[in-house]
């Protein structure tokens, strides 16, 4: 019997092909657009978070207490090298880097700007976050006096590869010191602070320039997949300031949360409208065939079997819509993931906001699974009212009913 109902449902789903096709197109178009938008927006934030972790904070960063408030060299980690070794031995730690940073003034012969010098170990940074990926121009190599400049700072100071720049700041003893640097590369990390103000220099040179010892640093950044490491480190180093990525980047956390809220609202509204569309078609489809259902009831078919048939019809339409939308959406997401959307015409604006000029999307299985449940639910819910109409009528009345 089920086979027969299934066959009838299948045939009836496409009894009015134009109507069904229109509905499938509606589901497919709205679903693929929604998937594309979700993937693009999530991709923007995920990309930003990923690059922020790779270029700066990692999943966890450790500072001396008060350093983040005062950004004063007096608040530095005295035995950073020892802590780095300890961390490297810990389970779940993928990479650890030390950094030394100081705020000051960067000047060329013609322009000046606030800047931050950041001492980094290139080899360690490469394994920490593939630093070479951030290269825009030049060569990732700290040759003699070489420095890498953030893309926005380079614009402000009109720097090119090979330009000279002087960085002045107060060293650890309070004296004003200056250092002459030659731009070896221009980098874009998509971290606003780094791109607008940072000069990356070899850590040993910076330590020497600032009068720090080799074992000292202002930041220890850690890459890890471990969820428990943060709590462990907080307990292990109570005299230091252990911060998680989201504590350091609350804006990104808020962006992620806002994206979830935005996507959920979009999803709800779109699915509600899709529901209205499916409901309209299913309602008319049932009314069109009300005599047919009356005859089926008269010849002994039970109401629950008719109900099953109508549910199956709705499911078929929903499923076709989902599959079509899923295929189009998947292609769209793959395109966005691999090629992205090119906003080169707005390069200055995007770079100043910490975005890349090409915005890439991301693909998550949850996009498809949640949409599947939503479309199937909308399809099944849409036939409840038409079914109630059939249930209320007796077979004789139904057969006599005029369309």
């Amino acid at each position: 019997m089920f086979k027969l109902i299934l066959k009838m449902a299948w045939k009836n789903s496409f009894a009015r092909p134009a109507r069904t096709l229109l509905l499938i197109i509606m589901i497919a178009v709205s679903m693929s657009m929604m998937l594309g938008i979700e993937g693009l927006y999530d991709g923007m934030v995920l990309n930003m978070a990923d690059k922020s972790k790779r270029s700066d904070s990692g999943e966890i960063s450790i500072f001396a207490k008060e350093y983040r408030i005062n950004r004063d060299l007096k608040q530095r980690i005295a035995d950073a090298k020892t802590i780095q070794k300890e961390l490297q031995m810990m389970e779940g730690v993928r990479s650890v880097v030390l950094r030394v940073s100081a705020d000051g003034l960067a000047s060329t012969a013609r322009k000046s700007s606030f800047a931050q010098i950041r001492g980094v170990n290139l080899q360690e940074e490469e394994s920490f976050g593939k630093f070479s990926d951030f290269l825009q121009e030049g060569e990732i190599n700290f040759s003699k006096r070489g420095a890498f400049v953030g893309v926005e700072l380079a614009k402000t100071l009109k720097l090119k590869v090979g330009s000279k720049v002087i960085f002045s700041t107060q060293d650890s003893s309070g004296e004003i010191s200056s250092m002459v640097l030659k731009v070896a590369a221009i980098v874009q990390t998509t971290n606003i602070v780094l791109d607008t103000s940072t000069l990356f220099v070899d850590i040993k040179k910076v330590q020497k320039f600032l009068g720090l010892k080799e074992r000292e640093a202002t930041q220890i950044a850690i890459r890890t997949e471990s969820e428990q490491l943060y709590e462990t480190l907080k307990k292990k180093y109570p005299t230091l300031d252990v911060k998680s990525f989201f504590e350091l980047q609350p804006m990104i956390e808020m962006m992620e949360e806002m994206m979830v809220i935005f996507n959920s609202i979009t999803f709800f509204i779109v699915m509600s409208v899709v529901f209205v569309g499916i409901f309209g078609v299913m309602y008319v489809s049932v009314l069109d065939r009300i005599r047919e259902f009356g005859i089926m009831l008269s010849i002994g078919m039970q109401y629950k079997q008719i109900r099953l048939q109508i549910y199956l019809e709705a499911m078929f339409i929903g499923l076709f819509g989902f599959v079509s939308g899923g295929i189009i959406g998947l292609f769209l997401l793959i395109y966005l993931r691999d090629y992205g959307l090119d906003f080169s015409a707005f390069a200055d604006a995007l770079q100043s906001w910490g975005y890349e000029t090409i915005i890439y999307g991301t693909i998550k299985f949850s996009y498809f699974s949640t949409t599947f449940f939503a479309i199937m639910s909308a399809s099944l819910l849409s036939v409840i009212i038409p079914l109630r109409k059939i249930k209320k009528l007796n077979p004789i009345e139904v057969i006599k009913a005029d369309k």
């Binding site: 606030f114 979009t266 569309g277 309209g280 604006a349």
Partner: protein, 406 residues
Amino acid sequence: MFRLALKNILFYKGRSITTFALTFISAMLFIVYVSMMDGSHKSMLENTLKIYTGAIEIYHKDYRDIGGNEYLIKDVTSITNKLTQIQGVKAYTARYETYGLLSTKESSAASMIAGIEPEQERVISSLATALREGEFLSNESQNCLYGGAGLIEKLKLQLGDEVAFVGAASDNSFAADIFKVCGIFKTGSFEFDLSSSFVSRNYFDKLMMAQNKASYITIKVDDLENVDAINEQIVAVLNDVELESLTWKTLMKTMVEAMEVDSIFGYISLSLFLVVIFFVIMIYGFINVSTRIKEFGVLRCIGFSNAHIFSLLFYEIFILSSLALLLAAPIAGYICYYYSVHPIVIEGIADMYKDYGIVSDEIPFNFDILTLSWNLALIYLLNFLSILYPYFYINSFKPIEATKHV
């Protein structure tokens, strides 16, 4: 035809209610969303203009691109004298900006230090009203420093404290002085408050050897809408190829572009809703005509032409859309107007997005009749487009065939 369309609307209640409701919802959503987006962009621009950047600024050519003391404006007085002749110029002032290190015994920080004309700044910028502690500068102020709250905090200074300044004068010689903190300001612009400080020009010019020189002249206009016309007048009056006069659209190009990008993303999101709603309206229209094929067949048999059928469908959608939009426009308009006067406040948003130049927790809407009109026109257009497929579907039937359609 109009009466027939009206009767059909009243007869096919389900379709009519759905079309009306969806048109109403899409119009409300569209108008309010665009108003909020435009309002927040406008507010960001206005806040930035209010703080420090002028509506128009005059530079020596190449000062912005190359920089350096040789590209300072050399004869400020003769230029400002010319500006007094121009209608629409509300106020103007010359600023001398330089970068230097401010140091105390404990800490140092790089700062933009600008020599300003305090009395003119009171009219042009919000520097004076941003005062939090101490006092704003006067033309007679001596070595008084008016510093941003972030900068003062970074240097661990308090009112009355002294701070050493080291920089380069306008003749490229070494310049150094001791300033005394006389006032602290907070504009809300994170970067500006963290990096800017001001000294009265009368004093600063002597230190920097910058008498009658300026980095640029900034101008406030009576009406921002006329900024391009006023700028054209300025260019004509200056008549100097060595000078360039730029409006805020060029000065804040990055911000304007950023807002365009934000708008693009906003419209991408909106298009999703509009496309889905368009499809549903079309589906209901299609269902409606597909149940009336017989009726259309009869109408064609008694002499209705294709154009009449199109008119009938057009009137039906026109009446439904007009009713929905007549209701949506005043409600959405009122919401936009209300929130343009009483902006939505999201506590902490300025602090959270300080890196993006957001200086206020307020999100005002934009109430603009022109924007509202094109929003409504677009919804109208989409609704009219939704009858095309149903119309072609009816026309695919021959009159006799349609009358026999079951």
